[in-house]
Amino acid sequence: MTPPTPDGPASDIRRQGDAVIIAVQGDIDLRRSVEFQQEVLTVLDERPARVVVDLTAVPYMDSSGVASLVKVLSRARRQGAKMVLCGLNDRVRGLFEITRLDNVFTIAATCEEALG
């Protein structure tokens, strides 16, 4: 197994009640989105009732990151899991608005709310 590269992903996964919280770190762009998608899909393999994607430590996201989240969302829906996004900074929130996906995703005002 290859050791993680210095700038490799550092998603932090923890469980709380029936939810799995996945806290992503770093920019989600063309460089990172496929792997990010795989990380969340792996979490969904556990068949949790809820998945919270915490984007607090994501300064930047592009349309490939959004595309990954769309794929993940449809998988979550298929298996009856609730998926919530939280911790979006203004720029990332703007990206969901401009792509009119802010009403397709459940976006919590705060990560506390997402877990509530």
């Binding site: 762009d29 063309l30 460089r31 592009d62 349309s63 990206l95 009119r100 397709v104």
Partner: protein, 150 residues
């Protein structure tokens, strides 16, 4: 008093996603120097990143060793200051007509980049480049200047 930046910065990168963060950093800094708000700088940065991603994915079909030339230039057009990003690739030219942004009501992955660039930039122009490839020019103007009370 520091003066506004007047000269363009040019970058020559490869068609690898690895270089995207470096270009984003340069674009963001130029926007900041030109007086763009953080929100607006984020839009310019995202638009140029989407355009570069499309060159990598579509014009070069994922090859990571092809050249892309980037110019980040201050512009002063009709009294308004702004930024112009020019991207030149040597891939197959595909006219703007072929790049329809899809119906956003149809929720599916992909097909959002062109829509983002159109919404966020003031000008977006694809031209066949001399010697092959595509020259993409994107311009974003600063909002009208308010009266400055010294």
């Amino acid at each position: 008093m520091t003066c506004p930046v007047r000269q363009p910065v040019r970058m020559a990168i490869f068609s690898t996603p690895d270089h995207l963060p470096v270009v984003r950093a340069a674009v963001e800094k130029m926007c900041e120097l030109l007086g763009f708000s953080s929100a607006l700088a984020g839009r310019v940065m995202l638009s140029s990143d989407e355009a570069l991603s499309n060159i990598i994915k579509h014009a070069y079909r994922g090859a990571t060793d092809r050249p892309i030339d980037v110019e980040i230039a201050p512009v002063h057009d009709g009294g308004r200051d702004g930024i112009r990003i020019t991207l030149r690739d040597w891939g197959a030219y595909v006219g703007r007509e072929q790049m329809r942004s899809r119906d956003l009501d149809d929720v599916r992955p992909g097909g959002l980049g062109v829509h983002i660039m159109c919404e966020y930039m003031d000008q977006l122009d694809y031209q066949p480049a001399e010697g092959g490839g595509t020259l993409l020019t994107m311009v974003k103007n600063l909002p009208e200047k308010k009266e400055v009370t010294p």
